[in-house]
Subunit: 196 residues, 2 copies
DNA sequence: GCATTTTTCGACTAAGAGTCGAAAAACAGG
DNA sequence: CCTGTTTTTCGACTCTTAGTCGAAAAATGC
């Protein structure tokens, strides 16, 4: 009963690594069990299906990302910086994970999509709180905060996920962010620095 | 050489229907050839892989959708209505295709994604032209048109694709559309009617 | 009518997900 | 330390699917 927990975690960690390296679809259960040195049956003793395992792996990722976002929220940064900081912390890419673009490869849409979905759900309330803070400080002025936050997230995901974005994308993104939250022009200009 | 063309088209049409009904991943090559009453080898005489066939099927869809969008652009509607009309014509769902949500099912992300990707690429220039028209008429005022159009598309896809959107989503969407293009408040209010 | 090209066939391979019954380990309680 | 019970492990097997290939059949051109 103790041993089981360890084994499961071990498998999740192997899968995490492999999924990131080669993608979900391209990682076979056989590859996972070979790496772990166990038999097929053992794997299926711990996971009902491969996809269910993916869910758990994603859960692990979300956990880490959300924690990072929480840190940013509690930091003493100015509100606009907090918001962008949280959004930036979302990219599951980044150094921490040894991805080299695996997530964005077309084969990985399923995984990518699931991650983004859950990540948005987890992070939207945090962002909403930051926006409320901004409203209290008179920096922002808007209603329907949750919806606005969601749209900003959607746009940032689509715009910045693949590295292919231009100067002009950034300009429009900044403009949009300011207008979405009813901020004064220039409030979000600092984004330009961050990105380059 | 003539016969081949017909057969290929026949296969594409069968696949189109099946992909829509049951999704891409869930439609096996065997299912397609059975329906067509041909042998495996014949299928692979016309298509290199199943995924390459998907590309062609998607090509067909894009064709149709883009044509619809072009019609709207040339119609005598007011510019804002044109824009929303084009966006609305994008949903590959709709009556014409007997989908019952197959596209949005998680298994179908790959197909869904590919469609949206290509559809956006094809339709962005059309929308951009509509926006320019609006600018010429003094209804809109903005720069970086293509980027703004792309963001509007992204948001509308994410917001309205699954049926799960609220009154407030619509409100924010309208607000965003107006501000994105520098239109007077109220310009896009008509969207509310369309949706319900 | 015959040679060439296009189209069709279907048995076969390979790979991967998931099943299952039974063996081995770990863990009681006495 | 033995013995019955539960947890964990094993690996051969099934089933499904994409994709291959060589050869037959059909169409085409001369």
């Amino acid at each position: 009963m103790k041993k089981g927990e360890r084994r499961k975690k071990e498998l999740l960690e192997i899968a995490y690594r492999l999924f990131l390296q080669k993608g979900y679809e391209e990682t076979s259960v056989d590859a996972i069990i070979e790496e772990a040195g166990i038999a097929k049956g053992t794997y299926y003793y711990y996971f009902e299906t491969k996809e269910q395992m993916l869910e758990e792996v994603i859960g692990m990722m979300i956990e880490a990302e959300t924690e990072a976002a929480r840190q940013v929220l509690q930091s003493p940064l100015p509100v606009p910086q907090k918001i962008i900081g949280i959004i930036a912390s979302l990219r599951p890419s980044r150094e921490e994970a040894p991805i080299e673009g695996a997530l964005m490869r077309p084969e990985n849409v399923l995984m990518h999509r699931k991650i983004l979905q859950k990540l948005s759900d987890a992070v939207t309330p945090l962002l909403a709180r930051a926006v409320e803070e901004g409203i209290a400080q008179g920096i922002f002025a808007c209603d329907n905060i949750a919806e606005r936050v969601r749209m900003l997230l959607v746009v940032s995901n689509e715009t910045f996920d693949q590295g292919r974005f231009t100067e002009r994308d950034v300009a429009v993104f900044i403009d949009m962010a300011e207008k979405l939250f009813g901020a004064k022009p220039g409030t979000m200009d600092f984004i330009r620095e961050l990105i380059r």
